[in-house]
């Protein structure tokens, strides 16, 4: 997100979901779209099957979309930058760049080009494990399309150099003029129902609602006036820093609303220690999650079906949620709990209903200014929507980037923080599967979903399985420098040798006990997609 904001001025999807079907070439990189974003996946399928679009899939795993792909680039985990730079090398070499777009709408091209010019494609092939000819073919396919769209997800961001990965996608789009028009752009797919909204609402340590910087005095005073309290202008801690802070004693009290870091965050043993080190932990959730179990106080919230409000989806569309059920226990809407707690702490909040909160937040958030409950019924509105007469924005950066000129950034490939060695010879990458969601607190409690997918698995190549003498369905031990777990092996024929995959939804085999906390220095995203592990057969 930080990467896209640097390049374009906004970190959100540049296009709408429906526009994907109109793209001529789609590059899916670091996204298992059909499993993690199935409905976005349908648009990719529509583009390919119905409109004859070309599809390039860059993924270490033979994900479902590779079936439909014209080109599958099975790159080694963590080498996105090298691959994208290689593609851009080909594009510049072959004169496929959009010179007019570069000249009129971007800055920093020359500096960026130096990095690309210095590249050796053979070396790129070495690093990525993808042949030069495939890189060439993919580059041409992408560059020659009138409308090319990039879809990415955590496979791009969850790296210690994730910002660089994101910047590379932006570079590629700008190089070919594939941004700022319908069906062409850079589209980070959001993993949860309201990630976009939580970001928009300022649940980030450095920005207030609407990405207004806490360090901006004018912004701060606007909020101070509205909220009637003095505010800190010092950017706060990110999740991973909070846990670090807990361990060092810097952070003493933590309030967790509807999150389960005890499964979702890297190096769970460290997370556990951090939570144990806290003086006071409050968890507000609908289930007694792994995290809630560690709390001093647990506050019962209600589910999505028992509340009213708005959520913002991955295409920046603000939509209305409606209350379908009455709460059966004493659980309350999260906003009511916050309101009551604020009251208990002597800060009175007066909101008779969710809509009153929305009115306040839209007034303070320029990109939400024109959005009202009335207007979003029934189809929602895509921000930015600066006034009540504005129809919302289908795609961003038309004619002008949010920040003015698009910015090329020179990005050099850096290897993942942890690389394989003799002791930990496999690259572990983690991710989502179709039938479960995030830490499984919801989907694991759905009878049918849990019946069809009751346990975790370790995907590995037939070659590696043969070498280790492991058969499909055999339970194995996976160890990293940080922890270990037991899980069944799932041997796959066309899986990249040397790489293994674990879904992180299962508390019985929690993938994040193994993962690395190495952070991207800018976005503070941990490197969940690459760490070194070993696999051991269980002796009978």
């Amino acid at each position: 997100m930080a990467g896209l904001a640097t390049a374009f001025g906004s970190g959100a999807m540049t296009n709408s979901i429906a526009e994907i079907a109109g793209a001529e070439t789609i590059l899916v990189i670091g996204s298992n779209t059909t499993e993690a974003h199935p409905i976005v996946g349908l648009q990719v399928k529509k583009a390919v099957k119905k409109h004859g679009a070309k599809l390039i899939v860059a993924d270490p795993r033979p994900i479902d979309l590779t079936r439909l792909a014209d080109i599958w680039l099975p790159l080694k985990p963590g080498t996105n930058v090298a691959l994208l730079n290689g593609m851009m090398k080909v594009i510049i070499e072959e004169g496929l760049e959009d010179q007019r777009f570069i000249a009129e709408r971007t800055e920093g091209y020359e500096e960026f080009k130096k990095v690309i010019d210095a590249l050796d494609l053979e070396e790129t092939a070495q690093i990525t494990g993808v042949s030069v000819s495939l890189i060439r073919e993919a580059a041409r396919m992408y560059a020659q399309a009138e409308k090319a769209s990039i879809l990415y997800a955590m496979g791009i961001t969850q790296h210690s150099s994730g910002t660089g990965h994101v910047l590379s996608t932006a570079n590629l789009a700008m190089l070919t003029g594939n941004v700022g028009k319908e069906s062409a752009g850079v589209n980070p797919l959001r993993g949860q129902s309201n990630v976009q909204g939580a970001c928009d609402m300022g649940c980030l340590p450095n920005v207030l609602p609407g990405y207004q910087k806490v360090s901006d005095a004018g912004v701060l005073s606007k909020f101070e006036n509205k909220w009637n309290v003095p505010l800190s202008n010092k950017p706060g801690l990110t999740v991973t820093e909070m846990f670090h802070g807990a361990l060092t004693g810097e952070v003493k009290g933590l309030y967790v609303m509807g999150e389960n870091p005890m499964l979702s965050d890297p190096d769970l043993n460290k997370v556990k220690k951090a939570l144990e080190s806290l003086e006071f932990l409050v968890v507000q959730d609908i289930f007694l999650t792994e995290t809630a179990k560690m709390a001093d106080v647990v506050l019962p919230a209600v589910s999505f079906a028992e509340k009213e409000g708005t959520v913002t989806n991955t295409e920046r569309r603000v939509q209305k949620m409606n209350k379908a059920l009455e709460s059966t226990g004493e659980g309350k809407e999260d906003w009511k709990i916050i309101k009551d707690l604020a009251g208990a702490m002597g800060y009175a909040m007066h909101y008779p209903a969710a809509e009153n909160i929305f009115r306040e937040l839209s007034g303070l958030t320029p990109i939400y200014n024109g959005i009202t409950y009335e207007r979003i019924d029934p189809h929602g509105i895509q921000w930015p929507c600066p006034s009540v007469h504005h129809p919302g924005t289908k795609y961003l950066h038309h004619r002008r980037f949010s920040k003015g000129l698009g910015k090329f950034s020179p990005v050099e490939y850096t290897p993942p923080a942890e690389i394989v060695d003799d002791e930990y010879p496999f690259i572990l990458t983690t991710g989502r599967i179709l039938f479960h969601f995030h830490t499984g607190s919801m989907s694991r409690r759905v009878f049918s979903l849990n019946e069809i997918s009751p346990e975790g698995f370790l995907e590995m190549s037939a070659k590696d399985a043969d070498y280790l003498g492991i058969e499909s369905n055999e339970e194995v031990v996976v160890k990293s420098r940080r922890g270990k777990l037991k899980v069944k092996a799932l041997v796959k024929k066309n899986f990249l040798a040397g790489t293994v995959f674990l879904p992180f939804h299962f508390h019985e085999s929690p993938a994040n006990i193994l993962t690395n906390t190495a952070l991207d220095p800018v976005a503070k995203i941990p490197e969940l997609k690459v760490c070194a592990v070993k696999i051991e057969k269980i002796k009978k």
Binding site: K46, L288, A305
Partner: protein, 350 residues
């Protein structure tokens, strides 16, 4: 559309319409009803159910409106004795191979075949005969197929292929014994998106978790947004006795009525017995039930204490990507305005 228009006539009335539209589209745009069973939004015309047959002047045969593009000057008739007779004939044939168990059928009340039978008053079938046996694949927890009710409109097969791109099912066998099934009759092993269930006009495909939970007219429907991934699919929750008994989606939304297995089948967790019912306070390592007042007072006290002892920045909050905008707004407002720190984040990065 490129704005070009053509003029044609329907039932003697002159009508202007856009280019490249099927006769069925044009007819429906003009508020004229034609019964259909195999027609389905977003799917290519199939022409199997033969109910949308219309007369076109100059063509001796009846033509299916769903598969024929309307052209300039066409003279279309949607009602005539021949058409009416044909439609009744089709419905009568379908009913001659139908179990007549509407009283147990999940589709009752939203079934177009039931509606047609009712409309035509077709209680007596002039050519009764063999009925297909029920072949049910009962191995998965989501979808049940009862081939005895299947009218072979092919909507499930087509949505699975054309939209979902999976192709898990197809037409099997021939003649009267033609049915829908999986290759080599293996157990259904697919993405379980349920697009097939949603597209089935009759009761041949049902969502298992919804079986016998309630009739359509006994439920209240509420539109909301899926609680899972960031696609933001629109859901319609069907509620009876404060329970979600089934989930559908309106075709007129960003997700065009399509859902994934989580959206369509994954709302049960709301009713799971593990749901937290009251506030808990941990004492000596054990959670004890508490009142809201007790719990909130304790939290407020502890937060104040830490704030006073260690400073504002010793407190932090993790908000939720699963909560609403209002709640996220309020959460960061609480952290910033009440706790006085910018230590607020959520799992956007995870």
């Amino acid at each position: 559309m490129d704005g070009k228009k053509i003029v044609l006539s329907i039932n003697g009335k002159e009508i202007t319409c856009g280019l490249n539209k099927t006769i069925l589209d044009v007819v429906r745009e003009n508020g004229i009803q034609i019964p259909t069973l195999c027609d389905c939004k977003n799917l290519a015309p199939f022409g199997a159910c033969r109910l949308c047959l219309v007369e076109i002047e100059g063509i001796p045969k009846l033509i299916t409106a769903c598969s024929t593009i309307a052209v300039k000057g066409m003279k279309i008739r949607t009602e005539s004795e021949r058409i009416d007779k044909s439609r009744r004939f089709i419905v009568e044939l379908l009913l001659s191979d139908h179990p007549f168990d509407c009283m147990f059928c999940e589709q009752a009340g939203t079934c177009p075949l039931q509606d047609l039978a009712y409309e035509y008053g077709m209680k007596n079938i002039r050519f009764p005969g063999e009925k297909r046996a029920t072949i049910t694949d009962d191995t998965n927890p989501f979808i049940e197929r009862d081939n005895s009710k299947c009218i072979l409109c092919g909507r499930c097969v087509r949505v699975c292929d054309e939209i979902q791109g999976v192709g898990a099912i197809g037409f099997i066998d021939r003649g009267f014994q033609t049915r829908i099934g999986t290759p080599f009759d293996r157990n259904l092993d697919c993405e379980f998106c349920g697009q097939c269930v949603a597209s089935c006009p009759v009761g041949a495909l049902t969502a298992k978790p919804s079986k016998q939970k309630g009739r359509i007219w006994q439920t209240r429907s509420v539109k909301t947004i899926c609680p899972y991934c960031g696609c933001g699919c629109n859901l319609t929750l069907h509620v009876r006795d404060n329970k979600i008994i089934s989930v559908t989606s309106d075709p007129d939304t960003l997700n065009e009525g399509y859902l994934c297995s989580k959206g369509r089948f994954g709302c049960d967790y709301v009713h799971h017995p593990d749901r937290l019912q009251y506030p808990l306070i941990k004492k000596d390592g054990q959670f004890i039930r508490s009142s809201w007042e007790q719990a909130l007072t304790l939290v407020a006290m502890k937060f104040k204490e830490i704030k006073e002892q260690h400073g504002n920045d010793s407190l932090a909050g993790l908000s939720s990507a699963k909560c609403t905008n209002e709640e996220n707004y309020l959460f960061q407002k609480f952290i910033r305005a009440v706790l006085g720190t910018n230590n607020v984040d959520h799992c956007a990065r995870l």
